[in-house]
């Protein structure tokens, strides 16, 4: 897919919101095995979905950065490899933001983020990142037949 800014944001919302959520439902019981202490599965779900929400919200911000960087590319393309590699910067930022929000457990959702530790985070984030990128490169084109021609937009016509 060759993105436009609008397309990037729409695709991000779909991939993280829908595919990421489905994957998080599947993977969280496995992630729970690596969480220290004895949290309930419901607690772990609370954490993984909060992380996913951060990936989405911060990711929309990242899309503006990527779109800006893309302007230096003659072809105005975004190679598949970039899609995978940007997981590094995004993962680091999500972890740092989660850590910082969690350090001030004034509200319940913040307290949950305070429980995030590195290994379970990596298992959840890295696997989600790979799943949504694989989905974007393959099944997405089949389900949404016009998507690849519309710069990644799912709504809004041609």
């Amino acid at each position: 897919m060759l993105p436009t800014l609008n397309g990037r944001i729409q695709t991000r919302i779909f991939l993280v919101g829908v595919i990421g959520s489905i994957w998080t439902i599947i993977i969280t019981p496995f992630v729970a095995l690596f969480v220290e202490g004895e949290p309930t599965l419901g607690d772990v779900y609370q954490v993984t979905f909060e992380i996913l929400a951060l990936v989405l919200i911060l990711g929309i911000g990242w899309e503006f950065v990527y779109q800006g960087l893309m302007q230096f590319r003659w072809e105005k393309d975004w190679p598949t490899m970039f899609g995978y590699l940007t997981g590094i910067n995004e993962g680091i930022l999500v972890y740092l933001v989660a850590d910082s929000l969690g350090s001030d457990p004034t509200t319940e959702w913040r307290a949950y983020l305070g429980a995030v530790t590195l290994l379970p985070f990596l298992i959840h984030f890295v696997s989600t990142w790979i799943v949504i990128n694989l989905f974007a490169g393959n099944f997405m084109k089949m389900i949404f037949i016009r998507w690849r021609f519309r710069g990644g937009r799912l709504i809004g016509g041609w």
Binding site: L2, T4, F72, W74, K76, P79, M81, F82, I143, G151
Partner: protein
């Protein structure tokens, strides 16, 4: 070999034969030729039989096939579509041109992995399919690693020509394409009183009782491919004056004799052009040298690209040693990203400026070619020249002498063979059907002098009652979409036309559910 001013294509022999066929019954009358809009009665009076079909596609090549493929998957029965043309298979002309220009079936095209004219989704891509068919883990991972890391760590993955042709053959069988085509040469398309169009087909001699057959349809799709491929004017003048079609050849015509003769006797070849075809021809010459041929190559550039070039830091294309590098014939985002979006939406003046910035002759960056030419430069058998040719004349010892004007002066360059790799396209009026549309059906030219089409590929000005006429392919370059002359461009056009026909109520719209169910049928190889 061609004796005319453009490269002759295989089907043109059939065209000449059918035109000169003796049957006078059911032929075009002077009154039909002179009248822009025809009535049913006029055809009856001329004795031309009429065949009714909702959609007629003129051409019968890959463009006709791709639209048929989309329509079948949108739910159209096979008998509602007729592709009219002289080809036996949709890929025949394409295969002829790629083979002549040194891309036989085992070699790789200049086309993206997801540009799949046999599969409307681009999934599975050609790289995935190559991986699935490859023996052994390493060979399986190779194309996958390539597409995952292109164009950063690797050059673009591109499919082998043979893979595409075989896949098209399978898909043609699946959608019942055999019953969707009729063989012959299309003479013209005219509007019909009361709506729709008549397309006049001249079938192969002896296959019908009349000279012409008229197809009456609501929709017409014009997919005629290149209006013609021309020679450079100075080379054309030489060929015509000296009747030498042996030493001065076009890369798009059969010229195997050049390599065969060079294998027997040392010689010099002058290559003109700096696009993908020039790259392929140079690769072949280098390969022949590796096999022992004593070949000297002089490569004449008209414009020499020495490095990154472009008007601003946001519009800089890479280049070196004369070549401008680009994966495909336009920047990638012309297929579906930012440039495609801008070309569709920007006002005319801004769009035309963008057209100018995006254009230009380019070749893909491929390590093999760069290394071959580097070796040639170092060993002295590959030399570059920059300039324009004033005249071409016969020289001593069976050579052809090109008078080349350079910034350092004028030089006589003698060569045993000259290969024209410029791929100069003829004016659209060189194609009879297109010329007729401009003259009789209200079609107009766009800023690039080609056929003006709307964003959904309807030919501007040709509406006839409820009827609509569409055009795709190289003849429409310069309207709202850049990559008309590509597999994925034809797929995009197919998608837009099918959506427009869905708006007309002709077929259901391909939504998520239909897309998934049709894809499953594609995988299982069952009919749509």
């Amino acid at each position: 070999m061609s004796t005319t001013d453009s490269v002759s294509l295989p089907y043109e022999e059939l065209a000449a034969a059918v035109e000169s066929a003796g049957t006078a019954k059911g032929d075009l009358t002077d009154s039909l030729i002179a009248t822009s809009t025809w009535t049913d009665e006029m055809l009856a009076e001329a004795g031309i039989p009429v065949v009714d079909v909702p959609v007629v596609s003129v051409g019968g090549g890959i463009g006709s096939f791709v639209l048929a493929d989309y329509l079948r998957q949108a739910g159209m029965p096979a008998e509602h579509y007729k592709a009219l043309g002289a080809l036996d298979n949709p890929w025949d002309t394409y295969e002829y041109l790629t083979r002549c220009s040194q891309i036989p079936r085992p070699e790789r095209l200049r086309s993206d992995s997801g540009s799949t004219p046999d599969n409307i989704w681009g999934f599975p891509s050609y790289a995935t399919r190559e991986a699935m068919e490859a023996p052994g883990l390493v060979k399986k991972l190779d194309p996958l690693f390539n597409v995952a890391t292109e164009p950063i760590l690797t050059d673009y993955f591109t499919p082998r020509a043979g893979q595409v042709f075989k896949a098209l053959e399978v898909e043609a069988r699946r959608i019942g394409y055999d019953q969707m085509k009729a063989k012959g040469i299309v003479r013209m398309v005219r509007k019909r009183h009361g709506g729709g169009y008549f397309t006049i087909l001249t079938p192969a001699a002896g296959t019908t009782t009349t000279k012409r057959v008229a197809y009456r349809s609501t929709y017409v799709h014009v997919a005629v491919g290149y209006p013609g491929l021309r020679f450079l004017p100075d080379l054309q003048a030489y060929r015509t004056t000296h009747q030498d079609f042996h030493r001065v050849v076009n890369a798009y015509e059969p010229h195997e004799h050049v390599y065969e003769e060079l294998a027997k006797k040392p010689g010099t070849v002058l290559v003109r052009g700096a696009g993908i075809v020039a790259s392929r021809i140079l690769q072949r010459l280098c390969d022949e040298r590796d096999k022992g041929s004593q070949i000297q190559v002089i490569h004449l550039f008209r414009t020499y690209v020495d490095g990154s070039h472009g008007p601003s830091m946001f519009l800089r294309r890479k280049g070196s040693h004369g070549w401008a590098f680009q994966g495909f014939n336009y920047p990638k985002s012309c297929w579906g990203g930012q440039y495609k979006h801008n070309l569709e939406r920007w006002p005319d003046d801004k769009r035309n400026e963008l057209w100018d910035n995006l254009g230009g002759t380019t070749t893909p960056h491929r390590k093999l070619w760069l290394n071959q030419l580097k070796k040639g430069r170092a060993e002295g058998w590959y030399r570059e020249m920059v300039g324009t040719v004033d005249s071409v004349t016969p020289g001593a010892d069976a050579t052809v002498v090109s008078k080349v004007k350079t910034t350092q002066g004028v030089y006589d360059v003698a060569a045993n063979y000259v290969i024209d790799c410029t791929g100069l396209e003829a004016d659209i009026t060189e194609h009879r059907v297109l010329a007729d549309l401009l003259e009789h059906s209200g079609a107009v030219r766009n800023a690039k002098g080609k056929l003006q089409v709307e964003r959904h590929f309807e030919i501007t000005g040709t509406r006839s009652g409820v009827g609509k006429m569409y055009a795709v392919g190289s003849a429409t370059l310069g309207s709202y979409f850049a990559v008309v002359d590509s597999f994925l461009g034809l797929q995009y056009a197919g998608m837009r036309i099918v959506d427009d026909l869905a708006d007309e109520g002709f077929v259901p719209r391909i939504g998520i559910r239909r897309s998934i169910s049709q894809w499953r049928r594609w995988v299982k190889k069952t009919a749509p």
